[in-house]
Symmetry: D2
Subunit: 313 residues, 4 copies
């Protein structure tokens, strides 16, 4: 293990939420994992986030989560900072995972609110205080109301940002009024990083000052998202519009098959499998696409690739 990265301040850029390549319910697809990590890092990303929603974290056994942390840190080998999702309903398991993350050389941990009991904001603040007092790695808050049933209110973000160990927020609400409200409350705090999850909104948030994106599509096309981020950071609106247009095509063509919330995740795994990178196995309760959807993904993938080529020429 290389010495771990200390996160720059502010930490910024594209930090793909890595899917978890699985052989079956209890085993990692190790060669796939290696190919995927290398593929992503070679795309120029600024970090790697494992065990998020896109990583199917909550569907994996605990043993597998710990194993994934170890293997990922090993393969990454210090090339980029590794962020580890420790979201759990049991704080004690979050801390155990954070401990492994620290030992294996990860740079930070990320925690969404506990997602079983319905909490109020005061309980949420106490919860994050409980974590931060016991963590050695820096902590990112993770706002994910569609899955956790609770919003980390802007005032709660502000309150928690006084802790040195809490260094940023990943917001996956897709509610930009909320996100801009948080940005406004945190302005001037270059030590607190603000990322959005949904790639459909990354460009505009970075144009207005956000620090980056934790965008699923960067599993497939890391370079595209890096370029879009760079253009947005520079305020190069023309390039942003053109690259953002491709991101919207990816969203529209790869993430919208089927009826349920998981079509995004199924689409990415199918595409990565078609691209020859890793297995598309999904842990229960989700299931990979069947042949019909897979074929559509394959066709749409070709279309997207040719659009990306056109762009280059």
């Amino acid at each position: 293990m290389k010495t771990k990265h200390t996160l720059p301040q502010p930490f910024k850029g594209i930090v793909p939420p890595m899917i978890t390549p699985l052989k079956d319910e209890t085993n990692l697809d190790i060669p796939g994992l290696e190919r995927l990590i290398n593929h992503i890092i070679e795309g120029g990303v600024h970090g790697l986030f494992i065990l998020g929603t896109t990583g199917e974290s909550t569907s994996l056994s605990y043993a597998l989560r710990h194993e994934l942390v170890a293997r990922t840190c090993e393969i990454v080998d210090g090339r980029v900072p590794v962020l580890v999702g420790i979201t759990d309903t049991a704080a004690i398991e979050s801390l155990r995972l954070a401990d492994t993350a620290e030992k294996k050389g990860a740079s930070a941990v990320v925690a969404a609110p506990p997602y079983y009991f319905n909490l109020g904001q005061p309980e949420l603040i106490e919860y994050y205080e409980y974590l931060v007092e016991r963590l050695s790695l820096p902590l990112f808050l993770y706002n994910m109301p569609s899955h956790t049933k609770i919003i980390i209110e802007p005032d709660t973000v502000k309150t928690l940002s006084k802790y040195k160990g809490i260094v940023g927020l990943k917001d996956s609400s897709a509610n930009n009024a909320y996100f801009n409200n948080v940005m406004n409350k945190m302005k001037g705090r270059s030590d607190f990083s603000l990322f959005v999850g949904p790639e459909e909104i990354m460009a505009e948030t970075v144009l207005l000052g956000a620090h980056g994106g934790v965008n699923g599509g960067a599993n497939m096309f890391p370079e595209l998202y890096v370029k879009l981020f760079e253009a947005a950071e520079k305020g190069d609106v023309l390039t942003v519009k053109s690259l953002h247009g491709i991101v919207m095509e990816i969203s529209s063509k790869l993430y919208s098959l089927g009826n349920f919330g998981s079509s995004y995740l199924k689409g990415i795994k199918a595409a990565l499998n078609i691209m020859g990178i890793c297995s598309d196995y999904m842990a229960s309760p989700l299931h990979r696409f069947r042949e019909a959807e897979r074929e559509k993904i394959a066709n749409n993938l070709e279309e997207i690739k040719s659009k990306m080529l056109n762009l280059k020429h």
Copy 2:
């Protein structure tokens, strides 16, 4: 009555959702209405939207709604296009209001989904088809899921956009992944206008190609929103950031007192009253701010005005 405006294609810019100046539960504050309309139009806006959520439409008696349409068109006198909210649970009352709008010289009508029964998308499509077949004025869809309990899905917008009489969408969801998805589906359709409601997200959506904002703050500071729109349309990111910063201060300082969803609306009415423009009376079930909040609004208003002045120098 001047000959009414035919909407340009695409219709774009700042179209303030006008608050309704009220003397009491059943009477308009007519001098206030006149001052307010003149104040807004002199700010350079591109249209005026009455009887929306910000206009407390659903709290007004039917007689008052019809009266407001007549008075507004009279006072506007053809200076800008007038858009009239006809949102209702009873389609027949929507049509009656549209009829008044047409007769008095309004340029378009705007309808959110009926908000009592829980509908599915097919029922929603049938509903808008029912309206559009009976309307003589062009119709804007109005997505307002927090109040209507239903999202106008992007595919529904696409389906409905084939009707010549349906000419745009006002989206107040604040969900930019949704909005960008709609923009992507409608790209190339310069005859279909895409506006957002929440002013906190207007700048970024226009930067990426949206047509404008229906922003409550433009009741108070129309010029600010017009300038922000123009900067965003030009892709002038620096100016956008600076003006957007003031909009976020307005949102943070004027719209966030009190506990409930209506603090935005109470804040605008209080501010307009403090500015000497019109009454702050609110129709039941809402109530204007009491003295304590009103004082805070007055102080915060001063702060915002001085920031705006600094900007000019």
Copy 3:
């Protein structure tokens, strides 16, 4: 017009939420209305509730609502108390309708919370206080969170029950923990009537002390619901189980076709039309069943009728 009924204390029994027989979007089916009212009253019900959710109140024009009040009171002619739904987003229109109700001889009015703006409990209390101070007829609260987006909390019911003019609650939440909580808070208050809307839960609530049901199925089979109520009031569990079984069959066979929340309402209107009582026209945004569903309703209706016959022998 007969002298109106003063409601007994406590008011109890079966008070069918009458569907509104419509010829088309703007006209009542008058002969159907007469047949329906007579059919219901001859079933032995204890009151009649018009302009509720089942009555499509929010889909009707204001003129039609007022006309329905007048016509119904005329046809009922003092045989049972008439309760009039005045639920509206505009308090002023609620009061106007209450005025008509009072003039035409109705006995009480019923109001769900305003259903457009998102209110808090304090605003809800102020709203009902506003109404009750201006009403001459007694008022029933109407809890309908699936449509209004707000629960009338048990403590709010308790607070409002101190007003002499507020005489009861109709709860359509189907949440019996909520309802039992309200019953517990109001115990000993024989002057405050507690009714439930969903017929699927009427029997058990009356067994435990509730005052009655506002059950849609009583449009079709008033006698069944009256007998079930009487058995439940007496604590005759065997009869309750047997009659409740038929009510559940009605619910299962007539209210569950199609995908959306309105299948209950479509089912009742179809059945009444098949029974030769009145038109099944529904006001926009809802639509009556098409032929396929109608045939199923016809078949299921036969099945239910034969079960009811078996019961009698």
Copy 4:
């Protein structure tokens, strides 16, 4: 370990969802656990359910969950059937816990839907099929929409009930229209047990044919709930009303302090501690009551006890 109970068909009665006595975040309060189990069993209950919502299952480390299964089965020692909650977002961990349950002599397992990803009904059916094919113990479905964000639709219950290994449903929705709908669909299936969670609705559901209650209050007063169940099963409405009245007092006086959803759980733990039975420690993210609430609980507990005494005399 005694030979485990095979569940009778139908399984019925009072099956308390046991709270988990904790010394601290990672250790059981073993003497408290022993006192609690004996207290509950001596009250005449028909089974014991551990690791449910009331048992704070999702807040406990995995090691602790496995330990609790072992310890409980040991202490119960075959006196009543033990049901083990295996609800988890990772199916593999559910299966591991079910394996421990089987080895230690539990009689059945109970699983709510996975509660992180948003699933549709087809995915939910596949999920339960996945489980049931791999389980050796019988499985109860557990409907808990407020925590899991998904309803197990009545048709889904019906579909899943064809599997021999799925033997019942615990419904904690408090929606009795839903529950009666399920009862109606499952009538005649004496091999499929229907329980409700909320004690506020247990009496009425058993009066109409449900099999029993999984009621938190039975941690404190097992005998009360057993007597109420027996009276309801016999159709003894007078006794039901009287005992149900006390249950409603317990709900009103012990479960309603504080603002959030967990006041029920905090109330039970505080009361058990005051009664000298076990620790009131709660695992993160929840916290036990502070002194002020605890005093109120102590006072209210005295009141309730004296009501129960009056009843006996």
